[in-house]
């Protein structure tokens, strides 16, 4: 078996005495679309933050393509090919939509901290950013300040920023939170389109989105994964139904 894209071993996190993540082992293969679901307060966002080094784990390891991420800063992890979005929209509201995406391309195109290149002279930056905007259907909003976009458009922009750098592991934290049905369908299609061939890890509440997108699902309850498997298997798992899914599934169908 090839090296998994992301591998978590014995990952734990405590805040004071409260143990939020209680030992997670999870292996996500290349180009797999993996959803993490679970009731509120199960630690889904904390798990995301541990993987992306927003805060350090109490114990355990996170490996990206077999490389241990311990001690790395978020920007270093990002340079190794992992990119994430946030539960609360996290864009650059004062900049134009185009500039948001262009900023996301700078490092990936090797511009680093250079002060001897002019960004608007670079065809590859301009065309690259326009191509991303085309993908996320925001070309018409190109020159507007990002803060003026509608909520769904801002979420789409955030996905655009997340994928722009060409990372091969994409982590999306509740990409459809707070959206209407049609907006949710739109974002789901968008995610399918832009993450083709990439490893996708997402936290999501909307079961329709989860079962529509995911190859495999992990169910997180009180900081532990109680089941991992194909959507049909997870749906049938009595433990899952008991803990969480039953009620949600009933509501869904």
């Amino acid at each position: 078996m090839s090296t998994p894209a992301l591998e978590l071993t014995g990952l734990k996190k405590s805040f004071g005495k409260a143990e939020i993540i209680r030992g997670i082992d999870l292996s996500i293969g290349k180009a797999e679309r993996h959803a993490i679901i679970g009731p509120n307060g199960a630690g889904k966002s904390t798990l995301f933050n541990l993987i992306t080094a927003r805060f350090p784990p109490t114990s355990g390891t996170v490996k990206l393509h077999g490389e241990d991420l311990a001690g790395l800063q978020p920007f270093q992890i990002n340079r190794r090919g992992l990119s994430r979005s946030f539960q609360i929209t996290n864009i650059f509201p004062a900049m134009t939509v185009f500039e948001n995406v262009r900023c996301a391309l700078l490092w990936a195109q090797g511009y680093k901290y250079s002060f001897w290149n002019l960004v608007n002279r670079s065809r590859s930056l301009t065309e690259g950013a326009d191509a991303i905007l085309d993908q996320i259907n925001l070309l018409a909003r190109r020159d507007l300040p990002a803060g003026m976009l509608s909520y769904a458009e801002q979420r789409a922009l955030e996905i655009g920023i997340t994928i722009a750098g060409g990372a091969d592991v994409i982590m999306l934290d509740e990409p459809t939170a707070g959206m209407s049905h049609s907006e949710t369908d739109y974002i789901t299609d968008l995610i399918l389109k832009v993450t083709a061939g990439k490893t996708l890890i997402m936290v999501e509440h909307d079961m329709g989105v989860v079962f529509g997108l995911a190859d495999r699902i992990s169910v997180l309850v009180y900081g532990e994964i109680i089941a991992t498997g194909k959507p049909a298997d997870v749906r049938a798992d009595p433990k899952v139904q008991e803990a969480y899914l039953g009620a949600a599934l009933e509501a869904e169908h």
Partner: protein
């Protein structure tokens, strides 16, 4: 998703690329022309000295705005980088053998390098975070170095400061920089070069990321950029240009003292930058010009000039956080809609009485000051080209009357002005 606004994907970028050159070059050509011509309009030496002071402040304020406006770093001690750059230049001036082989126009570059050197050291620990921590470190370092000026006398010259003579430099194409006008063109060259370089900086990857880090440091981290290093590079570049301004100050005044690097000077540059507007590149330029005019021209008219500047600053912070540049740029949508003409009459109706009211208020302030502080028996004062007795009742009645009527009229016409404003900024409707 809203699809009614659609554009040809290729067009906006083409438009930007094609238009950028002529659009961005025009202001620079105009600026160069103005710099060249101004001494022929304002020919006397004091006007030229004022303009020199102005251009130095422009460089310093633009450098400061690299931190405040573009990088989101509020510094309370930025005068030290200008000051240290200036002191270094004074020492070079005093190395007579070396200085004799040294063309004077190159000197500000060394000021810049010394300012940059200090910024490298301080920035290495101060740029770890923005916000309060950065502000406090900048204040601490500012105080520390200002205190050093009386301790390290060899470099800072103690209370007398360090003085020198610019004319000992190697003649530059026969010019020994004896006259203010010679220094004017030297300063003008540097202000144009520095402003252009700082503008170009804001268009580079590290300059764009400075804005990104200002708006959302966490997001920037997840785009592969270390917020800290982005801040560090801005800080070092800002230190360089502050040092250039310090070097030019040294050339102009041939003396630097503790005053050039203390917290008060750091406060002034914050005020200048904010007054001009931090949101636009040209904001600090306006701020520097307006402030220098107030400082030099208004201070000749009244001892209380700092009071009025303070009031202006307060009004800017409270009512126009975008500064003077923000006020100007507010009008761009109305101009684009072709409706700016409709604003002229309401503006005159409101702003002229407001101005008269404010002048009346200023008269009251001046009269109070005169009554309280003039020598006993000296009851005569001159205000607005009128000489009168400040202890008599009539001038007070007139001043109060003018103030009340002026401000009252402004207040009464304010709703009409607001209406005209919203009309001018809405699409369609009557013209």
């Amino acid at each position: 998703m809203n699809d009614e606004l659609t554009t040809d994907p290729s067009k906006p970028s083409q438009r930007m690329r094609a238009g950028s050159l002529s659009l961005t070059l025009t202001p620079w050509i105009v600026a160069a022309f103005l710099l060249l011509v101004l001494p022929f309009v304002f020919t006397n030496n004091s006007a030229i000295t004022i303009m020199n002071q102005m251009w130095i402040t422009v460089i310093f304020a633009l450098a400061y705005n690299m931190l405040l406006g573009q990088g989101g770093m509020l510094s309370f001690g930025h005068a030290v980088y200008a000051g240290v750059g200036g002191f270094a230049c004074m020492h070079i001036m005093n190395m007579s053998d070396f200085f004799a082989m040294f063309p004077l126009p190159v000197l500000p570059l060394f000021g810049g390098l010394f300012g940059m050197g200090l910024a490298l050291i301080v920035g290495s620990f101060s740029t770890r975070s923005a916000g309060t921590v950065f502000a406090m470190i900048s204040l601490g370092v500012g105080e520390l170095i200002a205190a050093c000026s009386v301790i390290i006398v060899a470099f800072f010259g103690g209370e007398e400061g360090i003085s020198g003579d610019r004319t000992y430099a190697m003649p530059f194409f026969g010019n020994e920089f004896l006259q203010p006008i010679d220094v004017y063109y030297l300063t003008s060259f540097w202000v144009l070069l520095s402003a252009a370089l700082m503008y170009l900086w804001s268009r580079t990857p590290v300059g764009r990321m400075a804005n990104a880090v200002r708006d959302n440091p966490e997001r920037a981290q997840f785009l592969g950029y270390s917020s800290r290093w982005v801040r560090f590079y801005s800080f070092v570049a800002s230190g360089f240009f502050a040092g250039v301004a310090g070097g030019l100050f040294g050339i102009n005044y041939e003396i630097l003292t503790e005053e050039n690097l203390n917290t008060a000077s750091s406060g002034v540059i914050l005020l200048v930058t904010f007054l001009g507007g931090v949101g636009f590149f040209f904001g600090p330029i306006i701020g520097a010009i307006v402030f220098t005019l107030l400082q030099t021209v208004l201070s000749l008219q009244t001892e209380l000039w700092a009071f009025y500047v303070g009031a202006l600053f307060l009004a800017t912070v409270m009512f126009f956080p975008g500064g003077l540049a923000g006020i100007l740029m507010m009008h761009v949508p109305a101009i684009k809609l072709g409706k700016a003409g409709g604003l002229v009459r309401p503006y005159i109706k409101t702003l002229v009485p407001a101005l008269i009211g404010i002048l009346g208020l200023a008269a009251l302030v001046e009269m109070t000051f005169h009554v309280r502080h003039a020598a006993t028996g000296d009851n005569e004062m001159t205000l607005f080209w009128t000489t009168f007795d400040s202890h008599a009742i009539l001038p007070w009645i007139i001043a109060i009357g003018v103030t009340v009527v002026g401000l009252g009229l402004a207040r009464a016409t304010l709703p009409a002005m607001k209406e005209a404003w919203s009309e001018a900024n809405s699409v369609g409707g009557k013209l």
